[in-house]
Amino acid sequence: MRRVFIIIVPYLWLLALFLIPFAIVLKISLSDVAMARPPYLPQFSWEAGPGAFLAQLDFENFTFLTTDDLYWKAYLSSLQIAATSTLLTLLIGYPIAYAMARAPEEWRATLMMLVILPFWTSFLIRVYSWMGILSQEGYLNQLLLGLGVISEPLIILNTKAAVYIGIVYTYIPFMILPIYAALHRLDSSLIEAAEDLGCSRAKAFWLITVPLSRNGIIAGCFLVFIPTLGEFVIPSLLGGSGTLMIGKVLWEEFFNNRDWPVASAVAVVLVLILIIPIVLFQQNQQKQNEAQS
């Protein structure tokens, strides 16, 4: 009985906060936009019965997504931005995680604190402060002009570069922490053994350290890629009108056009796209657990 209760709680949670909302969104995506409150039809009514209700649902909105190239371009652009920023985050995060794992024992807690510290400030405020740093009159341009590195202020804000900076900055802790966890467990005598058997330092890193931190790398990449794909705040605040991302399209569809059904269709497709990396991530975690036990 106790066991059943323990299992049932997370499932109820999942049902109430994920599956039911998703079913509602799915239902809206199959409806038609209307001047009503809420702004779509049909509404479910007991008098008409479920049969009549279901008959009014259709896939019109999904077909609509294919007729306007805005949508698939936004999906593709999101995938590209998410993939690139995941790679950038990995390239910057791995050396940081490596340095943390190699740092003297008494420093590690402090370093870990520094990685987590930004979470103590609101995400929105942090992104806004990047606007202050990156704008044409911002701190970065002032610094570079002052140092004489540049003579004209750089245009960074409202470009893709600003989006990458924002994403890498925001998500880097999610890359560092799992890689650090993997490297922290790594027995340093393995590296010595590899060197003893004829590896140079670099070769030992490539043949031993990297494969043994593989699970950390995979976990970190998914933890960055999945939320970045649907990211809305960073591209809309830092990316300007030139950056096309599906999160922004969704927002505009929902709030500017008040077209709930199309917005829901966009969201459903996004979830379907995300299912693939989420399932792969789950499998990776499971394999990792099995390897540990």
Partner: protein
């Protein structure tokens, strides 16, 4: 105890494989190895023995190339190896933790070093097969390290470090993680493998029994210095100081004043009102010099009557008996409340044993049975 013919250290013309020349290693304020000079010869099975923190592991790590001496130099086959990095040395090491690569199977672990040398595929396969056979691991070639037992892991580590046919193999507490029975079996297996491959082995251990079993010579270390370097039997029978006598096996140490009593013979006055003990020694002691008589418990005879022909006899009372099955150790209280240990083989069944607690007995031994030490 008969010595085997293999004893290059007695041959002044023999060229040592390894030479430590005045090697000192400091870590900050701490001196791990102090001005140490040592020769190790080819085909030797050399044991570095000592308590933890005595510098034996530091010596091994300097041989492997993971530590650089603060001063002095180390030669391998006549070449100074101090500036040579670990991956360029003809030395391989078997790590205490085994350090098997968890993401590679047994076969790939053994092949790891050979692949780094760019060995041709056929030769590589042959060499790995040979190593698997030598260590009886053929059946486990495809298993990952976490899928095999501790003893098997130990053999994989050995096979991996031997695969490259190093001039010198270093073994860092190779049997530390094995249980006693497996350890004993493995010791003999290790000696067998050493003989078959002809490789020079240097083993680091804190287990004196293990060092005595496997090694051709043992170096007893303490606080970064070599205390005695000799064959196991010499270390046991002729320790050069109380530290070595006490570290290796069980021993009674009787402190007293030594007086010359003829050529190479001394008497030791150890307690008031007791007959002095006779001891033979090659060393010279000044009159009444403080000395330590070290006598092994198995060389002390326990009898009910005073033996007529024994050179040294002490009367005492049995305080305790440790029954170990094959042998019994008697703790006998003698003059001045001093406790002496005597061991006898239990050749008769327990009900026929002569002595019990509180019995008054005589302990006796000959003048050549013990060793007289200065410190």
């Amino acid at each position: 105890m008969p010595e085997c013919a293999f004893a290059p250290w007695t041959d002044p013309g023999a060229e040592p494989l390894i030479r430590f020349r005045n090697v000192t290693k400091r870590f900050g304020d701490f001196t791990a190895v102090r001005d140490l000079t040592l020769d190790i010869y080819e085909h030797e099975f050399f044991a570095l023995l000592g308590p933890s923190g005595c510098g034996k592991t530091t010596m091994m790590r300097m041989l492997a190339g993971f530590e650089t001496p603060s001063s002095g130099h180390i030669e391998l086959a006549g070449q100074n190896i101090v500036p040579v990095p670990p991956n360029k040395r003809a030395v391989n090491m078997m790590f205490q933790s085994y350090a098997l690569f968890p993401h590679l199977n047994v076969w790939d672990n053994i092949a790891f070093g050979l692949k780094r040398d760019g060995m041709p595929k056929d030769a590589l396969r042959e060499r790995v097969a040979e190593m698997l056979k030598l260590t009886h691991l053929e059946r486990f070639a495809r298993r990952k390290p976490h899928q095999i037992s501790g003893g098997q892991r130990q053999r994989v580590a050995l096979a991996r470090s031997l695969a490259k046919a190093p001039k010198l193999l270093l073994l860092d507490e190779p049997m530390g993680a094995l249980d006693k029975k497996l350890r004993q079996e493995t010791q003999f297996e290790l000696m067998d493998i050493q003989e078959k491959t002809g490789t020079t082995f240097v083993i680091v251990t804190h287990d004196q029994e293990e060092a005595m079993t496997v090694a051709s010579r043992v170096a007893v270390m303490d606080e970064g210095e070599l205390i005695q370097v000799a064959t196991p039997s010499a270390i046991y029978e002729a320790p050069n100081c109380v530290y070595v006598a006490d570290f290796i096996g069980d021993v009674n140490i009787i402190e007293g004043a030594a007086h010359r009593a003829g050529d190479k013979h001394y008497t030791v006055h150890w307690a008031d009102g007791q007959a002095p003990l006779k001891a033979a020694s090659d060393k010279t002691f000044s009159p009444a010099q403080n000395a330590f008589l070290a006598i092994r418990p198995e060389k002390v005879l326990v009898t009910a009557e005073r033996p007529a022909d024994a050179e040294n006899t002490i009367q005492g009372r049995i305080h305790d008996i440790a029954y170990l099955g094959n042998i019994s150790t008697y703790h006998v209280e003698v003059a001045g409340g001093r406790m002496l240990k005597a061991q006898t083989a239990n050749t008769r069944r327990i009900e026929n044993r002569g002595f019990t607690w509180e019995n008054r007995v005589w302990l006796s031994w000959d003048s050549t049975a013990g060793v007289l030490l200065e410190r």
